[in-house]
Each structure stands twice: as C-alpha cells, then as structure tokens.
Symmetry: C2
Subunit: 184 residues, 2 copies
DNA sequence: AGCAGATGAGACGTTGATGTCTCATTCTAT
DNA sequence: ATAGAATGAGACATCAACGTCTCATCTGCT
C-alpha cells in the first residue's frame, strides 16, 4: 500500500522539519506505528530520509505542474504556484533545512530540474516586464523557496494561521513590505 | 584570549550552518585546531553549540544596536538594519536552521528580546504608514529573518556575491518582486 | 640553551542510536 | 472459527561519535 508509506512519510516530515536529528523512536511514535514496523517499511534511517526528500520534491514538482507555471502571465503563474505549494510548505521546510540531502545525486538532480523551472519562470517574467530585473532570477527563485519554507515553519509552530499562508507569501514576495502610496 | 574562542566559533558556524550534524573532528579541522584543543576550549558539543548560538544572538543584537532601529523613519531604520546584519548572515542562517537551540531557556529568552525589537520596528512602521498593514508584524519579522538566513546560505554556497547581499535583501523585502510601473 | 605551557596525535572506555532478531498479540480473510 | 499475515514489544549486538586520558612535540619566554 503506497498510501501507508506516504502517511508514515507525512508524519516523519512533521517531526524532521523541526528537529532533523530526531530519533527513529520519535518518528515511529509520531506515525502511530512501532519502530519495528518502521524498519519493515524503510530499511534504515538513511532510506527514510531519502524517501522524505523525494516525496518533498515530487510534491513540489506536482505543484509546479498544477500551477502550470510555464503558461501565461508570469505574475498569474506565480500566484497559482503559491496556492499550489503552500499546502506542502512543511515538506519544503524540511528540504530547506536538510542541506545534507544534496549528497544524494538522484535527489540533487531532481532538485536541479525543479529549481531550473522556477528560475525560468522568473526569467520569463523579467522578459515580460512583470518582475524586476535588478534582482537576479536565481536570487528570486531562492528567496521564494526560503519564504515557502518560512511559511511551513510558522504554520507548524502555530505562529501563522494555515489560511493566511498563501496570502502572506504572495503579498510579501510580490509586493514587498512597503506600502504603495498609489494603490490605496 | 576571547579572540581565539571567537575565531573557533566563527569556523564552527561555517560548518554547522550547512550541516548541523557535523562531527567535532570536522569542526576542529575547519578551525585549524585538533579535537583535543577543541575540547579544551569547550567542554563538549552541547556547550559549543550553545556558544555559537549566543554568539549569533549577540551579533544580531549588536546589529540592531548599530542600526539604531528604534530611531527615526522605519524604512530608513530597516535599511540600516540590512546593512548591519548582512555581514553576519551566516550566523543568522545557523540560528534559523538550529531550531533545537530553543530548548535552552537562556538562548530562548535572548532570542525573544531581539525578535520583539524587530517586531516593534515593523509595528512602528505600520503606524507611520510606511509598512503594509495587511501583513502582520510577526510575519514580517519572521520573513525578514528567513531572508537574512537565505542570504547567508546563498553567499556561503557561492550562489550570491557577498557584495550583492544587502541590495538583494533590501530590495526584495521592501519592494517585492513585482516591477513598479510608477517608479521607472 | 633551558624551561614551562600549549598543542597535536592517538588510544581507550562510555554512551546512545541503530539494525536485527524473537515471540506474543492482533487483525483479516475465508 | 481458524489459519495466515501483520504488528507491537522487547532483547540483543553493533557501531560510531563523544569525552577523557597520556605522551611526544612544538612554541614562547627568560
């Protein structure tokens, strides 16, 4: 049952995104299973971490697909991306915190592909005159991901209401913190 | 010699901000000393991590002081803060990644004080009509710190030139990613 | 040169998480 | 109801990092 595996991974994210060094006991308890069963599903800790990473990247890639970021106006595409990615913000928070994953070539490649897609979105937006050209597409892409992770942490720790996630992310990232005098 | 301690902590940050689970061997090698000497300076791993955390918070607090964030126009104060904090972005990146530190009450208290100062800055800016009121001061504060950490990671990994750090941070955070038609 | 202190290299025991095993219990399908 | 499979609980060995120790070497000072 793939659903079973994914539900365990889901629970693992909840623990690991906060404390990447959490013991397997803790993860198993969070998933509602015993440590023995956890080992039956995943050969070991390394495999579990890797699976969580690939799940996060699969979800992120699915969000890019759902948002159809390659189509239409760049700003509208980014707003669609925000809505699509915020539900998986916790997974992105895990990915952001687990730089160690970049040792795995498979995960690294998968990440590169998705990151390139987001960078292309910003580049396209800059060519369309929608996004600012003073900021590099690479930095926009990285900063966007940082803020998505920030949403994930804030929601998990109860500092931000889940309903406010998409709005807070889109408004801050697109419009910045400054009040615009011309748009009352 | 406090300078010696700090130089070791400095080196430790370089390693720990990327990989929080790095072995003491690795940290000692990065600092150019042996593991034995590392143990002579810091009683153990826990003490080392705690010292790195307090160093980061001291530097962050010093940046808030240097920028005089309690004085004058909120936007100008934030720009001063950006300039003051970017040189220590790597330390902030460590603080952001090491949520585990929040177990220590001393560090937790110190963090609360600084976070409250930043939140007060945003609240003041909102009252002055400088910052947008649709975004909560708490989220602005958290997002700002996330982006500072992002700067630290990007610079450390060579994805962003150190000279571009302050500009990229200030422009994105204050003005957002959207191009403003009215300010060519 | 000679001495005191500091450092590096390495050995050693301890500790805690991990991986594997067994066995009793529970769930499920027929 | 019963056989088979799956799960939980716990014991056990392994292993890697940690903390401590000793000793040789190096540095700095007189």
């Amino acid at each position: 049952m793939a659903t079973d595996r994914d539900s365990v991974l889901e629970a693992a994210v909840g623990v690991l995104s906060r404390r990447p060094t959490a013991h397997l006991d803790e993860i198993a308890r969070a998933a509602g299973i015993s440590r023995a069963t956890l080992h039956r599903i995943f050969p070991g800790r390394e495999a579990l971490i890797r699976e969580v990473g690939t799940l996060g990247l699969r979800r992120f890639a699915a969000a890019l697909d759902t948002a159809r970021i390659e189509e239409g106006d760049a700003q509208a595409a980014l707003r669609r991306l925000v809505d699509a990615v915020v539900p998986d913000a916790a997974l992105c928070a895990f990915l952001a915190g687990e730089n160690q994953l970049y040792d795995d070539p498979g995960i690294n490649d998968l990440w590169e592909v998705q990151d390139a897609r987001v960078r292309a979105l910003f580049l396209r937006g800059q060519q369309q005159g929608v996004f600012r050209i003073e900021l590099s597409a690479g930095w926009l892409s990285e900063a966007f991901f940082d803020l998505v992770a920030g949403i994930g942490w804030a929601v998990q720790d109860g500092r931000l209401a889940p309903r406010d996630g998409a709005f807070s992310l889109a408004e801050l990232f697109l419009g910045g913190a400054l009040r615009r005098p011309d748009t009352p």
